[in-house]
């Protein structure tokens, strides 16, 4: 009785996941391991050894790591501050943080292009103040900036959630037992907030690794990330097999990153 009711409740999700997750995944894997004529081949996946593809993958990993670290450095103190503020205001501040997410991320990225351009908003202000103009557009720092800006809320919210759930008695106890602010933070709050940190890292690292929009708009087409290569293979080359092959490689890297973070989660949490 209970079983049948459960399956009824989960039916929509099952349909959803079969239709939009499992079948597409199977199709990607099918395309990845077949040639244009439908015969089995490992060539598409093997394409990753080419210098261009390997370089794009390594660059993607490097930029994603940097932007994930920067997100963490910005988000953690911010989440702490947010929980310190009186309850009412904290939800207001959280709202301010989520507010940009109500706008389309493509628009926000284009806005950054306008701000950072050589004759853009930022340089207009700098030149007006008699300062040196600032050129990072179409260079890797601009892409990192775009990633940090776009994905920061995904780091702040899980950390904020896990920090605000820490029992205040634990912190008070630590203080009573003679721990200073730093010791309380390092020995009590940090370990207890780790699940939030871990999910924040995953939620920033994975979209950074796969993005092609940010690098396209803020990189001026001069920087190819692995996402750009896959996108071009699908659209310009209309070579779905090669595109799917590289997608599989990218998925492997995502799974590896999730295994690593999950491992830390278990050890520390």
């Amino acid at each position: 009785m209970k079983d049948s009711r459960n399956s009824l409740v989960t039916a929509p999700y099952l349909l959803w996941s079969v239709g939009f997750i499992i079948i597409p995944l199977i199709m990607i894997i099918y395309y990845a391991f077949t040639g244009p004529d439908g015969s089995f081949t490992t060539r598409n996946v093997g394409d990753i050894i080419y210098f261009v593809n390997m370089k794009a993958l390594m660059l993607s990993i490097a930029l994603s790591l940097v932007s994930t670290c920067m997100c963490l450095l910005i988000a953690y103190p911010l989440a702490l501050v947010l929980t310190q503020v009186v309850e009412k205001n904290s939800s207001l501040m959280a709202l301010i943080f989520i507010l940009p997410m109500w706008m389309n991320s493509l628009l926000r990225t284009f806005a950054w292009q306008n701000i950072l351009e050589r004759k853009g908003v930022l340089n207009g202000i700098l030149v007006f103040l008699g300062l040196q103009p600032f050129y990072i557009i179409n260079k890797p720092p601009a892409i990192i900036l775009g990633m940090v800006y776009d994905f920061l809320p995904f780091m702040v919210l899980p950390i904020y959630n896990s920090v605000s759930e820490i029992d205040k008695d634990l912190i008070n106890a630590a203080r009573d037992l003679g721990a200073g602010s730093f010791q309380t933070l390092y020995r009590v709050i940090w370990p207890l907030s780790l699940p939030g940190v871990i999910s924040g890292i995953t939620m920033v690292f994975v979209p950074s690794l796969t993005t092609f929009v940010i690098s396209d708009i803020l990189g001026g087409g001069k920087i190819l990330l692995i996402g750009n290569i896959i996108e071009q293979l699908f659209t310009q080359d209309s070579d779905w097999n090669a595109g799917a092959g590289l997608s599989v490689i990218l998925m492997i890297f995502i799974v590896i990153s999730m295994i690593i973070t999950a491992k830390y989660d278990r050890e520390d949490g």
């Binding site: 050129y135 071009q232 080359d237």
Partner: protein, 350 residues
């Protein structure tokens, strides 16, 4: 595994029936058009519907390469598409196009003879296509930033203009620039020539501010860059917005292109499509389109309607074809296409 296959099949059947279901709903009085973005005066579409009672379903694409797989897959049965020359020859070669019934194109003589002749290069016998707009690819430069005569592709390699150059982010146009500068054909498939062109483009990359397509226009208007590679059709528009801009066809020669209307094999409303082509050939309609999109029209009576003499006689909009060393792209074949795309990625990741 068998179950999974069934599921896959089921989903395919579902999606296929979804499409055909949508198609069977529309009546005979419809026309499905697939055109470049910003490539027609929207009023023309309304006027056509008012005059003929035929409803138009209108979709847009950004590059030939994005359009092609959609027509090939036939997910939507477009009745009318507007690809460029080399893509038309690819579509003819792969048997994707239907011959146009020229009995229904009564105004075809409005198109200048030289454009029909040029079309023979990609559509021998003029059986599948009707020219819509044409143009060249050249250099747009800002007179306040470039104080020397611009007459060669070579200026795009001048270190003086580091970070001031916008290149086309489109594989054929980018390679055309390098190939022409080196004196090769823009349709070369010779490996040494391709490698030399690739190396030249890689050497240029340090000078290039960005590889973009449509954004060349806005960035040049906004004084973001000193030099940009652009289609001639954008030149008049950009000059209207920013009088400091000037367009030149480099002396090494360039690409001359024609975008023409074609009817795909799986079109369901062929006669409506032919009606629409003929409608576009009317001088007043062709003139409206020229005024709106500013791309050169091959329609001779329409050109005569242009009031501004500077534009009517403009060597940018209507260059004398014999004054320049012009070449059209031809379809290079699937393997060569793939190879060129690989080389282009090597440039962009350099």
């Amino acid at each position: 595994m068998k179950k999974i296959l069934y599921l896959l099949l089921l989903s395919l059947v579902l999606s296929a029936s979804g499409c055909s279901g949508a198609a069977s709903e529309d009546d005979e009085n419809t026309l499905y058009i697939y055109n470049w973005g910003e490539y027609i005066d929207p009023d023309v579409l309304t006027m056509f519907t008012e005059e003929t009672g035929i409803d138009i379903v209108y979709d847009e694409y950004e590059t030939n390469e994005i359009m092609y797989p959609k027509i090939e897959a036939g997910a939507v049965n477009y009745d009318l598409v507007c690809p460029s020359d080399y893509m038309i020859s690819k579509m003819i070669e792969n048997d994707l196009l239907e011959e146009i019934n020229f009995d229904n194109i009564t105004d075809k003589d409005n198109i200048g003879k030289e454009y029909w002749e040029k079309s023979e290069e990609f559509d021998p016998g003029n059986k599948y296509s009707v020219p819509y707009v044409w143009g060249t690819v050249g250099i747009l430069y800002n007179k306040t930033m470039v104080h020397e005569p611009v007459d060669s592709w070579g200026i795009l390699w001048d270190e003086k203009y580091k970070d001031e150059i916008l290149m086309q982010d489109s594989v054929r146009d980018a390679f055309m620039v390098a190939e022409r500068y080196l004196g090769y054909s823009m349709n070369t498939t010779d490996e040494d020539e391709l490698q030399a062109s690739k190396k030249l483009l890689q050497a240029q990359k340090a000078n290039v501010q960005a590889y973009v397509v449509d954004q060349v226009r806005d960035k040049m208007i906004g004084n973001e860059a000193a030099l940009g590679v652009i289609y001639s059709g954008e030149a008049i528009y950009t000059q209207r917005e920013n009088p400091d801009l000037e367009y030149v066809i480099p002396k090494e020669g360039t690409n001359v292109w024609i975008d023409s209307w074609v009817i795909p094999k799986n079109a369901k409303h062929k006669e409506n499509a032919e009606k629409f082509i003929n409608f576009l050939l009317k001088p007043r309609i062709a003139y409206m389109n020229f005024d709106y999109i500013t791309y050169s029209t091959p329609n001779i009576p329409a050109r005569a309607l242009i009031e501004d003499e500077d534009i009517r006689k403009s060597p940018i909009a209507f260059p004398n074809l014999s004054d320049y060393d012009l070449e059209a792209y031809s379809y290079l074949g699937e393997d060569a296409d793939r190879h060129l795309n690989d080389l282009w990625r090597e440039v962009k990741s350099y």
